[in-house]
């Protein structure tokens, strides 16, 4: 097994000018959309300063978190499944009979804006602890035009310590994911969110960098009162000035595209989609995804959420 220490280290150099070219297109898209918002939600009445409701159906949209949290005292059970790549066609029924990845977890709403959650994922026997706090709520009048939430996820790799090689320490098992989520509900039909994130692993394998910034753009369009279509696009920022190791570009993570359908009821949410990601846990997806959009490396996935 190769460990990160086997490679020549290079000083980390992170500048705003190196990040801006990657950040700008996504920021411009969101700002353009905000500027052309129909303001259908704006009304001069007693609801003017109330927070908008139903920006998204739930706190999870395909592969990404949304600004939504469970209400205070609500439990959410999550069952998430990612099948194998569709590349073999009927041989394994487009990946359905292939090796799959599964996550089960639950979230609990501590207050209306703050949740905590736990989950475990089959691949790498990951134990996850997560939290989300909504700082701002978009208002009916758009006096606050966006909802903003902070999301954090700590994963613990539970594989045997032999997996981590020499000089094993418990901290080698830890991976971190932090994200700021900015969302806008345009009208009763359409919502969009932009979410920059930062991923860090204490120990990585095979030339993978320890740190990675990424940008996510996700949207949902309601087709009927209970059926919606949605997409996620996640772009890891493979910035040369951030590289710790020479030649680490050979394992640069690939972008992800997810698109699918969502059905929401009072007690359940079902999401069925096609995606490039198979890691389920965001930090593993961001840092290790090698499924390419251009090569058609897509797979089927679904999320089932039960509310109690």
């Amino acid at each position: 097994m190769k460990t990160s220490k086997a490679f020549t280290q290079k000083p980390i150099k992170l500048t705003l000018s190196s990040l801006l070219p990657s950040l700008l297109p996504s920021l411009l898209i969101l700002l353009l959309c905000l500027g052309t918002s129909s303001h259908a939600l704006a009304q001069e009445d007693e609801f003017t300063n109330d927070p908008v409701s139903g920006t998204f159906e739930t706190g999870l949209l395909g592969e990404t978190q949304t600004i939504e949290t469970p209400f205070a005292g609500e439990f959410e059970l999550h069952i998430q499944h990612r099948f194998g790549l569709m590349e073999n066609g009927l041989e394994d029924v487009f990946g359905i009979y292939a090796t799959s990845n599964i996550r089960m977890g639950f979230n609990y709403g501590i207050t209306k804006d703050f949740m905590l959650g736990y989950g475990y994922t089959k691949d790498f026997k990951l134990q996850e602890f997560q939290g989300k706090y909504r700082i701002f709520n978009q208002t009916e009048s758009n006096s606050m035009p966006v909802s903003v939430a902070l999301y954090g996820n700590l994963s613990v790799n539970s594989l045997d310590k032999a997996y981590f090689g020499k000089n094993y320490k418990f901290s080698d098992r830890l991976g971190y994911f932090s994200q700021i989520i900015i969302a806008h509900k345009f009208n009763e039909t359409f919502s969009l969110q932009f979410a920059p994130s930062f991923t860090h692993f204490n120990k990585t394998l095979d030339f993978a960098e320890h740190d990675k910034f990424a940008l996510d753009l996700s949207g949902r369009a309601k087709v009927t009162s209970s059926l919606s279509m949605f997409f996620n696009y996640t772009q890891p920022l493979n910035i040369d000035s951030m590289r710790e190791y020479l030649k680490s570009e050979v394992t640069d993570p690939e972008a992800n595209l997810t698109f699918g359908a969502e059905i929401g009821t009072s007690t359940h949410v079902f999401q069925v989609f096609i995606t490039n990601y198979n890691g389920i846990t965001p930090q593993r997806n961001i840092l290790y995804n090698q499924n390419k959009i251009a090569d058609g490396d897509f797979l089927f996935g679904f999320n089932i959420l039960v509310r109690f």
Partner: protein, 135 residues
């Protein structure tokens, strides 16, 4: 032969009992606080609010009350109490405030939607949608 006859009788008895068991009782009168009886609906009863109310109704209410409020949703048959006919004159004798109270507070088999519909505007939108179901 005797065993088959006994088995057949038991099967018929179970099926008959199952049909008897789905008889639903009429809902009892609501005890609604006075403050709700005269509460004014601050949301304009227009197309936008009715559409918004319909979206929320279809998510939270239709499984029992049915698509058009006839009390014939997919879960309705399993309820002990008839979920009500929202198109009838008797239902529309309730004031908007009373409908808001019934929707949000609930009782018995009708769950409370205080947490699931936290937004005041959404609650009044559901009231406006139920008003639109009048024949």
């Amino acid at each position: 032969m005797k065993t088959i006859k006994i088995f057949a009788i038991i099967t018929i008895a179970i099926i008959a009992f199952a049909f008897v068991g789905i008889q639903q009782k009429k809902p009892a009168a609501w005890n609604i606080p006075a403050e709700f009886k005269n509460m004014e609906n601050p949301l304009a009863n227009d197309k936008a609010s009715i559409n918004k109310g319909k979206m929320i109704y279809m998510k939270h209410c239709r499984s029992c009350h049915g698509n058009t409020g006839m009390g014939d949703g997919p879960k309705a048959a399993r309820l002990k109490t008839f979920p009500g006919d929202f198109s009838c004159t008797e239902f529309h004798k309730f004031t908007d405030g009373e409908l808001l109270y019934i929707t949000v507070k609930g009782r018995d088999e009708m769950p409370s939607y205080q947490n699931k519909i936290p937004n005041k505007k959404d609650r009044w939108a559901v009231v406006n949608y139920m008003r639109a179901l009048k024949k």
